[in-house]
Symmetry: C2
Subunit: 185 residues, 2 copies
C-alpha cells in the first residue's frame, strides 16, 4: 500500500477484531517498522511486550484493561509499548520517552494498516496490574497498548469504511499557521 | 512509495538540504498526513507553524536554533510542532500531548520521505527565543522542529544512502519480548 494511503486508512478499529491467527512474519514486520523510528540522540527508549496466544491475551486484558477495552481480548496479539524514562532525555520538563515511543508506535500502526491488520491505541489500563502481569521492572512505564488482528469482514477496507466515514479532525486552518501563531497558512 | 519502504528510507538528513523551493501541494500534503494521526480521545493537540521563505527561515533558525542545527536555514521550509499541554490529558503523570504530537510528526516525516523530501527532527532550540519569534502563547510548548527540503543530489535515495548505511538500531531481541519482560520473542 502507498504510504499516504496507509496514513489515510489507518483507523482505530477495536470493534473489528478477528481471532484469526496472524502469520509470524507480519508480527515481526510491524515490530521492525517500530524499531526503525527516529529518536532523540538515537536513544531508542521503546520496548515492546508482544502478548500472543489466546490464554496470554485473555489473562492480560482481563487482568488490567478497563471495561471499554475488554474487547481487545478478541485479538490473537496485543502489543504493549513501554519504556524506562531514564533511557531518554528530559528537556525543559518534557519527558522525551513519551515522544520517542510514539514515533515508533505510529510506524507500527501504519505498517499494520499496510498489511491489512487492524490496531487501536489504548491507554485505559491499570498500570500497576499490567506491570505485575508482564513482569515489568519498577522503573519501566506503560505507554500504550494495541491489539493486532485481522479485521472481521472481507477486507481491511470494508472493516474501516464506516469508521473512516465518521472520522472527525480539526480543520487545517485550526492547526496550521504560517510563520507566526494564528496566521493563516 | 510503499509504506514499509518509506519507513525504511526515512532518515535524518540535515546535511543534505537543498534550497530548491517546494511545491505548495507537497507542503500541504505532509501537513495533511500529520492531521490524520490518531490521538488520545481525538484531542488533536498538535499545532504546526510553517516557517516559509528564506527571510523567515533565517530569522527563526538564527534567532533560536542551537549551533549544530544552524544548517536548517538552508531549507526553504522549517516546520515547528507545538502544543498546549492542557489540550490533552495527563495520565499518571504522563503528559500525553508529547505522545500525540509525535504520532502526527511521524506521519509528517513519512509523508515527506514518500514525496522525496528530507527532514531531520530537531529539539535543540532556545524555546523562549523561538516562542518569541513565532508569537506562541505563553501556555504553548515547543515540541519539535524539522526542516523540509528537497535533497542535495539526484534523488532522495542517493541523498539518504550514506546515512542509511551508517544506521544503528538496537537488535530486535533488546527491544521486543514475548508475553513477559525479558522473554525472547
Amino acid at each position: 500500500m502507498e504510504t499516504f494511503e496507509a496514513i489515510q486508512k489507518r483507523a482505530s478499529l477495536k470493534a473489528r477484531l478477528s481471532a484469526r491467527e496472524i502469520e509470524p512474519w507480519k508480527i515481526a514486520r510491524v515490530l521492525e517498522a517500530a524499531r526503525l523510528a527516529p529518536s532523540s540522540r538515537n536513544r531508542q527508549p521503546w520496548r515492546f511486550v508482544v502478548v500472543k496466544g489466546k490464554d496470554a491475551v485473555v489473562r492480560v486484558v482481563e487482568g488490567s484493561f478497563r471495561d471499554a477495552n475488554q474487547v481487545a481480548k478478541e485479538a490473537p496479539v496485543v502489543i504493549i509499548a513501554c519504556a524506562n524514562p531514564a533511557d531518554d532525555e528530559t528537556v525543559n520538563g518534557q519527558e522525551i520517552y513519551l515522544f520517542d515511543v510514539a514515533l515508533a508506535v505510529e510506524n507500527l500502526v501504519l505498517a499494520a494498516t499496510d498489511l491489512g491488520l487492524v490496531t487501536h491505541l489504548m491507554r485505559a489500563v491499570d498500570e500497576d496490574k499490567l506491570k505485575n502481569l508482564l513482569g515489568l521492572p519498577a522503573e519501566v512505564r506503560f505507554v500504550i497498548a494495541t491489539p493486532l488482528a485481522y479485521p472481521i469482514g472481507r477486507s481491511y477496507e470494508e472493516a474501516a469504511q464506516e469508521r473512516l466515514g465518521q472520522r472527525t479532525r480539526k480543520d487545517a486552518k485550526e492547526v496550521v499557521y504560517l510563520n507566526t501563531w494564528g496566521s493563516a497558512f
